[in-house]
Symmetry: C2
Subunit: 263 residues, 2 copies
DNA sequence: CAATATCCGTCCATTTTACGGACTAATTGA
DNA sequence: TCAATTAGTCCGTAAAATGGACGGATATTG
């Protein structure tokens, strides 16, 4: 039954199963603290259970995925970790941004996050905590969520051309629900962020947390990462939000200069 | 033409292309500093060029692989890095071993390596340098080589049952050549290491470097990792080798105790 | 503690997907 | 400028992957 996959436009041919395997890996990565059950993976990826099972068996065999013997839940495996170690030297965004994150954390006292775009997702690749005693750890390092969900993520989206924003929101539509946010509202928020030059919002899942984000662009001008600062809402007055936005903007300017030399 | 793949016994079915894709990823990882050309990848993986190309196109599209625009060479991509970050919290061997590595580096003055088995390969997952001014950086973090090539690697092999050693050496045979070592000689060295309880050898590729290694076993008693110490041969007298071996053995004992609690 | 609902894992006939031989384009290098 | 090497593409064919259906394990409920 040709379900006429209404997926993305960018159709590659002759690689269906690899695409599916990577889709699975991303989905497992997106829930790596709690682990994923076979059925949930099948549902979330829109694949048939037998297909998912067969692929997971292979991925497990090769070490990309691990299955907990008791719970049967799937997690990323040691090979994923090792490939990451190997790839790391070529991805020095973390190192480049580290001093800036320290400075921002010191200046604000709040927690700073570094987020990087990964296709239809955004991944938190670093975090630095400030001194203020109430900490808001809205993101763990390595956490993967649909593009547009976090505040840093929103800043990345807002910096993209309008038609691409639409594309992303269309393809992530169903995934947004899982994170308790609606597509249309995200679009409004993205437009607001475009006007302001930075993103700001209340965490939808965690009441009382407010964040400010600013995108980072590469040499060719496309936003591929973002810095964001998170704090309890009571500290995030309107005045303070704009102050932090300026702080972020300046630090990002420095980072972007370094990117030109480094990459 | 049914080439009757004389591969490994553990035949999975319905996952050929995923297996091949992962084989490619491992092969790219094994040469990630210099990058890999399409043809070399095809040769090393024993796959057809069109197949490799098609798969690389997909992997590149998904961010697992990156292609340098000028040289056309392939490297691991940002998604590999990100998956690694996500997987990291569940692989704390590094953290557990870190204090031991510091102590060993201080005691010996030489460079200490932590190696982990990954199927038919071994991957260097950590390194700590001693104070002695002549340093022997025989391994970079993330470096992947066929199991049996390095000294830590050799210690892991030596701790396996004899038939498995044979299997590994058979399937890695051709890959050994690339690293300038011969299978049979490795077998002798493995047997020697079994008698001694630790592995020791002169680096085959880099004259004047001698290393000592000791395997680390998990709860179920199988060797899955190793600590090793590397130094210039003039420092590695026979007496000193045995001293370092004792030092390693004691540290490994402590690590193995922690593994029981941690994992 | 049956009975029942879920979910995991496997089988196998069918068909779509991926394979790879052959060709073209791009790049190197002599 | 021309040969040699490598990258990338096409497409008919065969084999690999798909997924509906079933058996078995584990959790849940009455």
């Amino acid at each position: 039954m040709p379900k006429k996959s209404t997926d993305d436009a960018s159709r590659l041919t002759g690689t269906q199963s690899i695409e599916r395997a990577l889709l699975l890996l991303r989905e497992i990565a997106a829930h790596n603290r709690s682990g994923s059950r076979l059925l949930d993976l099948a549902t979330r990826t829109h694949l048939q259970r037998p297909t998912v099972h067969r692929m997971l068996k292979c991925l497990t065999h090769e070490g990309m995925v691990q299955q907990d013997a008791d719970s049967h839940r799937y997690y990323l495996g040691s090979m994923a970790f090792e490939l990451g170690l190997t790839a790391a030297p070529r991805f020095n965004l973390r190192e480049i941004c580290h001093p800036a994150m320290v400075r921002i954390a010191e200046a604000t006292g709040d927690t700073v996050f570094l987020t990087q775009r990964s296709g239809p997702d955004a991944v938190c690749i670093d975090r630095h905590e400030g001194t203020f005693p109430i900490k808001t750890f809205t993101l763990d390092i390595g956490m993967r969520r649909p593009l547009g969900v976090g505040t840093g993520s929103l800043a990345i989206v807002a910096a993209l051309p309008d038609d691409e924003i639409q594309n992303i929101f269309n393809s992530n539509q169903t995934r947004f629900e899982e994170y308790g946010v609606s597509g249309p509202s995200l679009l409004t928020q993205a437009h607001k962020a475009q006007k302001l030059g930075y993103s700001m919002r209340e965490a939808p899942t965690l009441a009382g947390v407010r964040s400010v984000g600013h995108s980072i662009r590469n040499q060719s001008g496309t936003a591929f990462a973002a810095l964001s600062v998170s704090s309890i809402s009571s500290r995030m007055t309107e005045k303070r939000v704009t102050e932090i936005a300026v702080l972020l903007k300046n630090e990002v300017r420095l980072i972007e200069k370094q990117l030109i030399n480094a990459m």
